[in-house]
């Protein structure tokens, strides 16, 4: 395992483990508290499997009141809490702590209400992303954000991570599709933020909660916006001799005023791996493959298909295919959707990165990445949410080879630094978690991070909720509260005033 420093375990809390389990069993059913080490192993890591830690205890509450009582107890006793949905995080957001209670939200699995008159659904946080769409699709609706883990990942986790998906450019991230939340604070207080109306007033605490990575509160109910399903969707599959031309095609599509429902790009290694795996009919003699999906009313989609084809031709596409049937459209996507497991077939292990870059920097980033690939002696395959600049380089390595994981992580860190260097960011949709925690300094100054941490202080002054995630160093809230103003300073004479 790589070198990751987590908050030092509280020996006093660990010493009271048995007593704590006993108290939890007075709040929830005895079998909903897990203290057997072997049983807890199921919770030792999330989607970022390089990091593992067996928690002190696991609790699986099923009501808001239970969550409230558990959190209040933990606050009173100084016990750390790590919330967890389905455990699909790719950034270690649900990595347990040795002295922490792992709070599993899987039992909150009901769709509480579907309200078509207000175009929303009220669901519990343990409902999977896909299950929301399944609950409303018979009536012609769907929930727009669609992370590729949507079969397994829960809406509670999506809220914590502000998850994205291929539809983001047109339909937004999780944060743009949530209307309201019920949240339990570490004090046990239950608060409702937003509802079925828009733009709750006062400070936008809804916006703060979404993407807070489990550090501010535990979500116990979510009101999501649902949308009518587009009348139709068709896709184009286009091959380019170089990534520059694929990138230019994307820029030209957007410059023409077209916002596709999805726009994905793959590089040669990813194309070959995917084709070998699912036989989607991808061209193999190209350097970049672009899938553009247009959704909406039929008349519009048909019209835009011809416009996009013309743009691709103007950018030297060597192959252009347009889906004529739903089967064909699904086939175009099959390779892209299977890209991660496909890469998993050609390498014992892979490490998925998640930087976002200004799109025009793509050729520069790809060529620099190739140099790094040679330098670290590790191959890299690229899949790219081309519309919004979110890059997923997959670094191929073998964990059984001594030193390869560490080399893959170093390579990954270099890629993320490169993303920041060209004007991008460390993470587009996977979250900071523990994975990118120590890289936050490449993007933010100490003052920037302190202002973010003050939000943490608003909600959880003792830092008991998911500590060790997101922030490289957790300052004490009392310390962050101090003012550093030099009193008596005169107003600056060079500032215009009147």
């Amino acid at each position: 395992m790589s070198n990751l420093i987590m908050p030092p375990p509280d020996r006093k809390v660990l010493g009271r483990r048995r007593e704590i389990a006993q108290h939890l069993r007075s709040i929830i059913a005895a079998e909903a508290v897990i203290d057997d080490v072997e049983e807890m192993r199921a919770y030792e890591s999330d989607g970022l499997t390089a990091y593992r830690q067996i928690p002190m205890l696991v609790a699986l509450p099923s009501t808001t009141d239970q969550v409230s009582r558990i959190l209040k107890f933990c606050q009173d006793e100084g016990i750390k809490v790590v919330p967890r949905g389905a455990g699909t995080s790719l950034s270690g957001g649900a990595l347990p702590l040795e002295d922490g209670l792992l709070l599993g939200m899987a039992k909150f699995s009901s769709v509480l209400e579907v309200d078509y008159d207000n175009r929303c659904a009220v669901v519990q946080p343990g409902v999977t992303n896909l299950a929301i769409t399944q609950a409303v699709e018979a009536d012609g609706f769907y929930y727009a954000p669609d992370p590729s883990s949507q079969i397994a990942c829960t809406i509670g986790g999506n809220v914590a991570e502000n998850s994205g998906g291929v539809h983001c450019l047109k339909y937004g991230l999780t944060t743009n599709n949530i209307l309201g939340l019920e949240v339990v604070l570490i004090t046990g207080e239950v608060v409702r933020i937003g509802g079925k109306h828009l733009d709750a007033e006062g400070y936008d605490l809804l916006g703060l909660m979404i993407g807070s990575e489990g550090l501010l509160g535990v979500v116990t109910e979510v009101t999501v916006r649902i949308l009518p399903k587009p009348e139709t969707a068709r896709a184009l599959l286009m091959g380019f001799p170089a990534s520059e031309q694929g990138g230019a095609c994307v820029a030209d599509i957007i410059s023409a005023g077209i916002i596709p429902g999805g726009m994905e790009m793959m590089d040669r290694l990813a194309i070959h791996a995917a084709e070998e795996f699912v036989h989607a009919g991808y061209p193999l003699d190209v350097e970049a493959l672009l899938i553009v999906e247009l959704d909406g009313p039929e008349a519009e989609v048909d019209h835009l298909i011809s416009r996009v084809s013309a743009i691709a031709e103007a950018n030297s596409a060597v192959s252009i295919r347009v889906s004529e049937t739903e089967e064909e459209r699904t086939a175009f996507w099959a390779g892209r959707k299977a890209a991660f497991p496909a890469v998993g077939r050609i390498s014992p292990d892979y490490y998925c990165m998640d930087g976002t870059i200004p799109r025009r920097q793509l050729p520069k980033v790809l060529s620099r990445m190739n140099e790094l690939s040679k330098q670290f002696g590790l191959r890299v395959a690229n899949v790219f949410h081309a519309g919004d600049g979110n890059l997923h380089p997959l670094i191929l390595y073998d964990a059984n080879e001594p030193g390869e994981l560490e080399r893959a992580e170093e390579f990954g860190a270099e890629i993320l630094k490169l993303c920041v260097e060209v004007g991008g960011v460390l993470t587009g949709e996977h979250g900071v978690g523990v994975e990118k925690r120590d890289l936050m300094g490449t993007m933010f100054s100490e003052t920037d991070l302190e202002h973010q941490q003050r939000v943490k202080c608003v909600f959880d002054a003792d830092s008991l909720l998911n500590p060790g995630k997101v922030f490289p160093t957790l300052h004490r809230c009392a310390e962050l509260g101090r003012m550093h103003i030099h009193a008596g300073r005169l107003p600056f004479p060079d500032i215009p005033r009147f």
Binding site: D199, L205, G296, E298, D388, L426, V470, H486, F492, R497
Partner: protein, 407 residues
């Protein structure tokens, strides 16, 4: 006379804030002052004017991103975007005339700080949803940045969300980055005449449930429709449900045709063409209908869309108001009687039954210093908001009292 500072960069903003802290001078943070009439009437010891922080610093149309200094006039932002057929998709309203001032005023920073979205809010989101990044100075006199210049970013806490809608009470922005989108090539609106409010809500609901991508849905009662500059609305003096369809020509035609089919059972239907449609939606967005009698308080009420008619009926039963719906029933614009509390209590009671909030957008200084302008939050929300203010502006020097008396 109290002092007014016009800083030209973030460092100078920090200096002014530091001075305000050490001299215990509450600062009024303002741009062009176009929305000064909104919010509690508060007293300040000095002013920080952002209008010297101007200029678009980055605009890459193919990346859908624009960065500007916070005091950049909206007119400048609009003009730059217009050259590339792009726009701010949240359709920021211009309340200049409504509030008794000039039209076309306002800065990009002010627009974001007030988080006001127009009719397209229901499809494209509010200002908060297009606010990608900022550099700002908190009430601690410290400069910080948040977010970034890419449209997809979850790195660190999204402080843009709280800056939007904070009315200058948490930090003074020096630079902002927004997501921009292609403007629709053309538009048309489907109109249904003569419906009562409850039927109008049902008709708008059907349109919103369809796959025809309605980008705005409003209902104007007859006495308001009559005042429209758009001839197809004012001609018959009947009430009008208006459903906007935007996009490329063949798509707009296709969708309006389909929508007409859906709405025919409700009553007399028609199509409002591009120009008249733009006029009507500008009036709805900017609340032009209430820009006449400036003595009447104007309320902006956000409720679940399906509850709109019920909320309006509840209010109308107790007090004489004029009102119309935007957001498919989810946004209720009300002109209330000038007397007493401007109908605050009646409105707040009706809203609390359905869930939502009411904001006084126009009111006399006297009214704005006696009643809550913004919806009073419930206890835990109030406590969290208070702590946020305390953390970002411990000395209370940034627009204190603008949102509520204690913040």
């Amino acid at each position: 006379m109290s002092e007014s500072f016009k800083p030209e960069n973030a460092t100078q903003i920090a200096d002014v804030v530091a001075w305000a802290v050490s001299h215990e001078k509450p600062l009024e943070i303002h741009g062009q002052g176009s929305k000064r009439g909104i919010g509690r009437a508060a007293r300040f010891g000095a002013a920080l004017d952002t209008t010297s922080l101007t200029g678009i610093t980055l605009y890459e149309p193919e990346e859908l991103v624009l960065a500007a200094r916070a005091g950049t006039p909206m007119s400048e932002v609009r003009a730059a975007l217009g050259e590339h057929a792009q726009e701010l998709a949240f359709e920021p309203p211009d309340f200049g005339v409504l509030l008794g001032g000039e039209p076309g005023q306002g800065t990009i920073g002010g627009t974001l700080a007030c988080n006001l979205g127009g009719p397209r809010r229901i499809k494209a989101g509010a200002a908060r949803d297009h606010f990608l990044g900022a550099t700002a100075v908190s009430g601690r006199g410290e400069m910080f940045k948040t977010g970034g210049r890419v449209v997809k970013n979850v790195t660190g806490y999204d402080l843009c969300k709280v800056l939007a809608g904070s009315w200058g009470t948490l930090a003074v922005m020096s630079d902002v980055i927004v997501k921009v989108l292609p403007a629709a090539e053309t538009q048309a609106s489907v109109v249904v005449h003569g419906l009562a409010p409850a039927d109008a809500i049902a008709a708008m609901g059907d349109a919103m449930r369809s796959a025809y991508e309605v980008s705005a849905a409003a209902y104007l009662p007859g006495d308001i429709a009559r005042r429209s500059q758009a001839a197809p609305l004012s001609a018959g003096a009947a009430s009008a449900v208006l459903l906007r369809i935007e996009g490329i020509e063949p798509s707009v035609k296709y969708r309006t045709d389909r929508l007409l089919g859906i709405l025919k059972p409700y009553g007399r239907v028609g199509i409002v063409g591009n120009d008249a449609s733009r006029t009507a939606w500008r009036e709805i967005r900017n609340v032009d209908f209430f820009a006449v009698d400036h003595s009447r308080p104007v309320w902006r009420v956000s409720v679940p869309p399906a509850a709109g008619a019920m909320v309006l009926a509840g209010i109308s039963a107790a007090v004489s108001v004029q009102g119309y719906f935007d957001w498919a029933g989810g946004l209720l614009w009300l002109a209330a009687p000038a007397s007493d509390d401007g109908a605050a209590q009646v409105i707040r009671t009706a809203v609390s039954a359905s869930g939502g909030h009411a904001t006084l957008i126009r009111g006399s200084d006297a009214l704005r210093s006696t009643i809550d302008v913004f919806e009073p939050p419930e206890a835990v929300m109030a406590m969290l908001s208070q702590r946020l203010k305390q953390n970002f502006d411990p000395s209370g020097v940034l627009n204190p009292g603008r949102m509520n008396a204690s913040m």
